[in-house]
């Protein structure tokens, strides 16, 4: 059961997760994401989408199985090495997780500050990006005063500001209208063209259909990584082999897109 290429950005092998002694929330998850791929993560509420993302952005440790990110086996990666890995990952949290005492500007600037970027560079980039997501006039406003959609855009700006190698977004267009949703999706696609691997968890089937990127479908803790046609006929428990094909397919799709 070899998954080709240690150059995968994300690789899961038989990953299972349970909270405490409860039942497994995720079971035998195996897949691999090639550099520069773009995936939608689909599934009903409670299927485990957010949990899978949490495993990917290193907020959770799996109960079993192997996770490797950027070629590092997470089981053998020390705590001291995590910040460097995390700086290569941008995350749009479902509940945004903005720091409420900081302005929109300071929230977006955080990843750069944490990475030690100089203040004058930070100002230029952050204002530019906030302008791009339509928040030019809200730069110094605190998130508590912003609307849900505006907060979401701040969260997205924070996730992409440092040009991450892997972008994970949990329902990133849940609070904005379709026009803004498409605009944000284009932002993700721009980033993807620059080489960022992208995984977006969403309910928005229209969006998924319109953009046509490969899908990962979670069903009651099992991952199905097939194409739309295969999903119609496919079984939920696709396992390791689906994962292997998913990885290669992702690569192909990104190649054809480029």
């Amino acid at each position: 059961m070899t998954i080709e290429g240690s150059d995968c950005v994300v690789r899961f092998e038989s990953v299972g997760l349970r909270y405490g002694l409860g039942p497994e929330v995720l079971q035998d998850i195996s897949f691999a994401l090639a550099p520069g791929s773009f995936h939608f993560l689909l599934g009903a509420s409670g299927a485990g989408k957010s949990t899978l993302l949490r495993l990917m952005y290193l907020a959770l440790k799996p109960s079993r199985g192997l996770i490797s990110l950027f070629g590092h086996n997470m089981a053998t990666t020390s705590r001291r090495q995590l910040p460097a890995l995390r700086r290569r990952i941008g995350v749009v949290f479902q509940d945004f997780r903005l720091l409420h005492h900081l302005s929109a500007f300071d929230n977006v600037a955080l990843p750069l500050r944490v990475a030690g970027v100089r203040e004058n560079e930070i100002r230029k980039h952050v204002v530019e990006l906030l302008t791009w997501v339509g928040l030019k006039d809200h730069v110094n406003i605190r998130p508590t005063i912003l609307s849900g959609g505006q907060q979401q855009r701040v969260a997205i700006a924070r996730a992409v500001i440092a040009r991450p190698k892997l972008l994970l977004a949990d329902e990133p267009t849940g609070n904005v209208d379709d026009r803004m949703a498409m605009r944000l999706m284009h932002l993700f696609e721009e980033l993807n063209k620059l080489g960022t691997t992208i995984v977006i968890a969403t309910h928005n089937e229209t969006l998924v259909r319109r953009l046509g990127h490969p899908r990962l479908r979670l069903d009651a803790g099992w991952l199905d990584a097939g194409t739309p046609d295969q999903q119609a006929a496919g079984k939920p428990a696709a396992g390791v082999f689906a994962a292997a094909t998913s990885g290669s397919r992702a690569k192909q799709s990104s190649e054809s897109a480029a």
Binding site: A84, L85, I89, V114, R158
Partner: protein
Amino acid sequence: MWARRSDLPLDHDALGRFLPWLIAFMVYLAALALAGMLLLNAMAARWDKGMSDTLTVQIAPADSPEKDAQRVRATLGIIRSFPGVARAQPLDEGRLMDLLEPWLGPGGGAEDLPLPHLIDVKLKTGARVDAAALAKRLAAAVPGTAVDDHGVWLERLIRLVRTVEALATAVLLLIGLATAGTVVFTTRTGLSIHHEAIEVLHLIGAQDTYVARQFAGRALAMGLRGGVIGLVFAVPTLLGIGYLATRMQAGLLPDVSLDPHHWAALAGLPLVVAAIAMVTARLTVMRTLARML
């Protein structure tokens, strides 16, 4: 660096208002303990220096004044030829009466008492004079003499002073520990209050040192603020105690006032406390975060 905004709302939690006052109280107590310690230290050093180069020789009275005078002359002769002695001076009658007055009252008929003659001996600075040898030689030549090198009572006094000093040091150490303990407690509470924000910082790729720096910076600022408040209250207290002491002393105590060096040491207290707070906060954050994912 001071103007640097914090990524965590550390100044807005209740602990931020409570910690400086607690530190102020600690610094106030520490200032009193330190001032006491410095004064005792200076006092002991002064006594040690002032007393260790003097001796008193006492000559028991004989039955006639002529004999007395002869005995004093003989004793003086021996003392002045003894190695290490700078000068020897018999205490005159008037000075002796002055010394006795507190015990006998003014004009208390001391003239009728058979009083011993006292000889005040100054030693050369730094000379170690063998008081026992001197006493032996004097006793052989003039029976009824006694040499008092103040050693016994000086030693006891200094031992007492050193004990009190050790206590003051212990008090300072305890205050330091209590400050550190308070900072550990407030830092841990701060970590749990701001747990979510810290998690976000971590997920964004912040190192533990990044978070620790914010807590340490806050602790330093609060330590300084509290320290200065404590010192502002301690200074008038110390001046008041000093004023009362000068009014009370009446020659009983040596001069008890803080010199510029002592004030400098006291002014350093807020800095020391702030440094303790900063280091403690940093270590606490690093240790607590090491247990997180």
